[in-house]
């Protein structure tokens, strides 16, 4: 039997994927010892808020855009959707603050920061498309006001906030797809690179002196 020397696409893709994300990295049951702060819960809180947004949004989508105006149960799910959006941005921004002050892009983790930042920037128009899809006075006002910024920047030529059909399509499908894709990339990058280790303290910093230009410790690295 002859040996196949040329690797198939499938084999190559599988080996790359498993190499980057072996099962124990994808679903770890241990974490670095320095993860000992409540600031670390805000990533998963943001993620689960997104899950609640999508779940409640799916219920609203099941019954169509007009349903929630006329039934109590519809208003209930609309409220869950609205409050989970508030919680999503609430937790995401606190997560962002924490990650900034930890300089979490260190050690080759720039793409983690980038995917997170772009997620925020895509979530904002995703929310906007939702606000103008409400089919109530708020939607009327927001669409007729925000149109000026869209038109001035040329976006209004192909993204018409007053076109309910278009906005609903973007809100229910296209933009959530983009947000979810970005979040998946973000989370997989976190799993791949691990959580950023703490700044190393120099001898001078370890003493409780006033912060005179900290010099980073170089060379010694994270010895086990």
């Amino acid at each position: 039997m002859s040996v196949v020397r040329r690797k198939s696409w499938t084999a190559r893709a599988r080996e790359r994927a498993v190499g980057a994300l072996p099962p124990e990295k994808l679903l770890p049951d241990s974490q670095p010892s320095y993860m000992s702060s409540w600031i670390y819960v805000f990533g998963v809180l943001t993620l689960t808020a997104l899950i609640v947004i999508i779940a409640s949004g799916s219920i609203l989508a099941l019954k169509g855009p007009g349903w929630w105006h006329f039934t109590g149960i519809g208003l209930f799910f609309n409220s869950i959707h609205m409050w989970s959006v508030e919680l999503f941005f609430f937790f995401m921004v606190i997560h962002l603050w924490g990650k900034y002050w930890m300089a979490a892009w260190r050690g080759g983790r720039a793409r983690v920061w980038i995917t997170g930042a772009v997620t925020f920037l895509v979530a904002v128009p995703c929310a906007l498309s939702g606000y103008v899809s409400q089919q109530n006075f708020d939607a009327q006002w927001i669409s007729t006001q925000a149109k000026d910024a869209m038109n001035a920047s040329g976006i209004g030529a192909f993204w018409n906030l007053m076109n309910f059909g278009q906005m609903y399509s973007y809100h229910v499908f296209l933009l959530p797809l983009a947000v979810v894709a970005l979040v998946i990339a973000h989370v997989l990058l976190v799993r791949k690179h691990g959580i950023v280790p703490p700044f190393e303290l120099s001898e001078a910093q370890a003493k409780p002196a006033s912060g005179a230009g900290p010099a980073p410790d170089s060379g010694s690295g994270g010895a086990s």
Binding site: Q31, Y40, F90, G98
Partner: protein
């Protein structure tokens, strides 16, 4: 129709400071965010439980 316990369907009170003008609800959200951030950093974290990151 299910009614909320607190009816927020009345015109918002606003906080004015120089040229800043923000609804009370938004101010509350921002203040709570700052408090939660500070508490998250300062609050002691239970050791060796490993159930929360």
């Amino acid at each position: 129709m299910m009614a909320a316990i607190f009816n927020l369907n009345h015109p918002a009170h606003t906080v004015h400071w120089h040229f800043f003008s923000m609804s009370v609800a938004n101010v509350v959200v921002i203040v709570v965010m700052l408090i939660v951030f500070v508490v998250a950093i300062l609050a002691p974290f239970p050791g060796h439980r490993g159930t929360e990151r």
